[in-house]
Symmetry: C2
Subunit: 344 residues, 2 copies
DNA sequence: GGTACAAATGATAGCGCTAGCATAAATCAG
DNA sequence: CTGATTTATGCTAGCGCTATCATTTGTACC
C-alpha cells in the first residue's frame, strides 16, 4: 500500500463523491447518469438524491474523453446569415441543450477552397461531434465530399437536396416562388419583375423558376434583373426594372435585403409603395417589419428548420433512428408593401 | 431509457504515436506542444516534423481534462442583440480561435431571476473557462454577483462600468449622445426630440443625458418620449413627438430599431426625411443602410469591442497581464436621414 | 579527477469519467 | 437440491493528455 498524495480539490463534486454519498460504486452512478435500465429503482432514487444534494454535474470533458465524443456541435455560418443568425442559433440551442450538447459557432468564408480548408480545420481543432451548416456555405462545391471523406456527421439547410449530405432540411423554394407570383396575380398585377439572387445558388434559381412558372400560368409578364443578395444589387436591379417603358407593377426580390433595396429605389424615383408598386421579399427576416412600408415577404421558419437539422444530426451521431421528416412550410406573409395593382 | 454507446476508437494519431515516430517520450512531445523552452532545438525539430507528418492535433478534450480547463468560452446573448450578433461573434471568434479557444453561444432571457439561473446552469453544464456577456444581459441586477460567487471569469460589454465585473468594455455613450446633439445643432436644428430606451438600462440613460446636456448647451429644446428599444415603441414615441404643436425637427432614437420606427411614423404622417425631419439612430447596425432614407446613426464597433472583451477574458483566465486599455470610439456616421433644419 | 550545477529527457500518477468483465444475489427449470 | 439464468452491482483498465519528480548527460570550475 502506498500513500496517495493529497490532490488539490477543485471544489466541484465528482462521480466519486456521489458514489460515496449514496453508498454505491461509481460504476452504478455512471449507470444512472447514462440512463442504463439495469439499476434497481431504489438504488437509483438514492443516487439521484445524492446527485441533487451535492449539486453534482458530470464533467463534460471527462465524459468526452472516455466516450470519444465531445458533445459539441459546430454551427457553420456566413455573414450572409447575419439577419437570421439569432433565430437560427436559438432554434439549434433549444434543441441541443436538453440533450446535453453545446453549440460552437464558426463563421466561414464563402470562397470554395478557403471554406473547405476552414471548415476542415475547425473540425480537426474543435473535435465537434457534428456540424450544422447553413446556406450558402452548405452549397459550397466540394464541401460535402470533403466532410464525407473526413467522416464528419453533418446536417445542412439548403434550398435543394445536396448530394453528399445525408441530412438536408430542404425548403420548397420553388413552390414559395410560385406563391409569391400567385399573391401578386391575385392583387391584379400582370406586369411582374424579379430581382434574382446569384445565378450559382440553388435557392435563387428555385425561387426564380417557381415565380416565373406561376406568373406565366397566370398570364403575366416577367422582367428580370440580376442581383447577388445584397442591398446595392437590390437597388440596381430595381432601377433597371423601373426604368423600362412598361415598368412592372409588382417586383419580387429574392431576399429581404434586396427587397429593401427595391423599396429604396422606389423611394428615390418617387414611386409610392404599394400604391404604385408592390414589393415582395424573401426570408421573413427581422427587417421586414422595420421597413416603411413593412415588407411582404416569404416567411421561412429558420428556428424550426435549424432545430430540425440539429435533431437529425444528433440522431445520426447517436445512431438513433431518424426523426420524422420535417416539412418546411413557406408562406407569404402579406404586409404593407403589396397592394392592388395600379391602373396604368 | 437507452444507453448511448461510446464511439469505437478513432484513427486519429495520439501524442504517443508522435513520440514513437520521433523517438522520444510523450513528455517531451508534451513540452513541444506547450512551447516549453527547455527542449533541444534539434529534438524539437524532429518532433515537429513528426507532428506534421502524422497531421497530429492534440485532443482538446484530453488536454482539457488534464489541465482542468476547457478552452471553451461562453458568449451570453439575448434577442436584443440580434442585429449585431453576427459581427460580435465574428469579433470574438477572430480573437479566440488563434489562441486555441472555441466559442459556445448561449441565448439568455432578460428577466433577472431567470437570467441568473439560466447563466449559472449553463456555466455548470458546459464548464466553460469564462464568459463574454453582452448588454443588456450584462446589466441584469445580481448577475455579476452571482457569477463572482461562482468564481467564473467574465468580461462584459456595457454602457457603464458594472460593479462586480472586473473586465467591462465600456463605450462612452454619454459623449456619443452629445455628439448626436451636436450633429443636429450643426445642421441648424433647435427643436429636438428623443425617443428614449428603457429607463432601467444604463445605456439609454447615458445616451439621453449626453444628448440633452449638449442640446441645452446649444440652446435647443428637447421633447422626450419613452421607448423600450423595440420597433413599435419607436413608432409610438415618434407619433407622440410629432403630434406636438411645435414639433421637433430632429429626433434622436436611442437605438436603430426605434429609429426605424421613427422613420415609419414620419412616412405615415407624410413627413419627408430629411427635408421635414432629421432622424438619428444608435448602434450603426445592419439596418441603417437598408432603410430609406439610409439612417444616420452612431456607429459602435461591436466586433472590436467584443474582441477586446474576449482578449481581456483570456488574459484573466490564463493569468497573463491585462491587455492595453481599449478605447471604444463611438462616432456619428451621417447618412441620408439627417439634413439642414427646415424653416418652420 | 571531483564536485556543483545546468540542461535535456524520461517514467508515471493522475484528470473524471465510461464500459468490459467479474462477482454476488435472486429466481427458475428439472 | 443443483445447475443455469437473470438481475444488480463492483472492480478497474483505459480515454489522451499534463506536470511532478527523477534521472541522465553535458559543462564549468577548482
Amino acid at each position: 500500500m502506498q500513500e496517495i498524495p493529497a490532490r488539490p480539490r477543485e471544489g466541484d463534486p465528482t462521480i466519486e463523491d456521489v458514489a460515496a454519498a449514496a453508498g454505491v460504486s461509481i460504476r452504478t452512478v455512471s449507470r444512472v447518469l447514462n440512463k442504463s435500465p439495469k439499476v434497481n429503482a431504489e438504488t437509483r432514487a438514492r443516487i439521484e438524491a445524492a446527485i441533487a444534494a451535492l449539486n453534482f454535474r458530470p464533467s463534460a470533458r471527462a465524459r468526452a474523453l472516455a466516450m470519444r465524443r465531445s458533445f459539441l456541435i459546430g454551427l457553420i455560418h456566413n455573414d450572409r446569415n447575419a439577419l437570421v443568425l439569432d433565430s437560427i442559433q436559438r432554434g439549434v440551442v433549444a434543441l441541443t441543450a436538453p440533450r446535453g450538447y453545446e453549440v460552437i459557432v464558426h463563421p466561414t468564408p464563402l470562397e470554395a477552397e478557403a471554406a473547405i480548408r476552414d471548415v476542415l480545420g475547425f473540425v480537426e481543432r474543435s473535435r465537434v461531434d457534428g456540424l450544422v451548416i447553413l446556406p450558402p456555405v452548405s452549397g459550397v462545391p466540394g464541401l460535402a465530399e470533403a466532410l464525407a471523406e473526413a467522416q464528419v456527421p453533418v446536417a445542412a439547410l439548403s434550398a435543394v437536396p445536396i448530394a453528399g449530405f445525408a441530412d438536408v432540411i430542404v425548403s420548397e423554394e420553388r413552390a414559395a416562388g410560385a406563391q409569391v407570383a400567385r399573391h401578386l396575380l391575385d392583387l391584379g398585377h400582370r406586369r411582374l419583375g424579379i430581382v434574382n439572387g446569384p445565378a450559382d445558388t440553388a435557392s435563387a434559381m428555385e425561387r426564380r423558376a417557381g415565380f416565373i412558372e406561376e406568373a406565366m400560368r397566370g398570364g403575366a409578364s416577367v422582367a428580370e434583373a440580376p442581383g447577388d443578395y445584397d442591398f446595392a444589387s437590390g437597388v440596381a436591379g430595381a432601377e433597371q426594372l423601373l426604368a423600362q417603358a412598361n415598368r412592372p407593377t409588382g417586383i419580387f426580390a429574392a431576399n429581404d435585403i434586396m427587397a429593401a433595396g427595391v423599396l429604396k429605389a422606389a423611394a428615390t424615383r418617387g414611386i409610392a409603395v404599394p400604391a404604385g408598386l408592390s414589393v415582395v421579399g424573401f426570408d421573413g427576416s427581422l427587417v421586414t417589419r422595420m421597413l416603411s412600408p413593412a415588407l411582404t415577404s416569404v416567411l421561412r421558419p429558420f428556428g424550426d428548420m435549424a432545430a430540425a437539422a440539429a435533431e437529425r444530426l444528433i440522431a445520426r451521431i447517436e445512431g438513433g433512428e431518424a426523426p420524422q421528416p420535417f416539412d418546411v412550410e413557406l408562406r407569404v406573409v402579406a404586409a404593407e408593401s403589396t397592394g392592388p395593382a395600379p391602373d396604368f
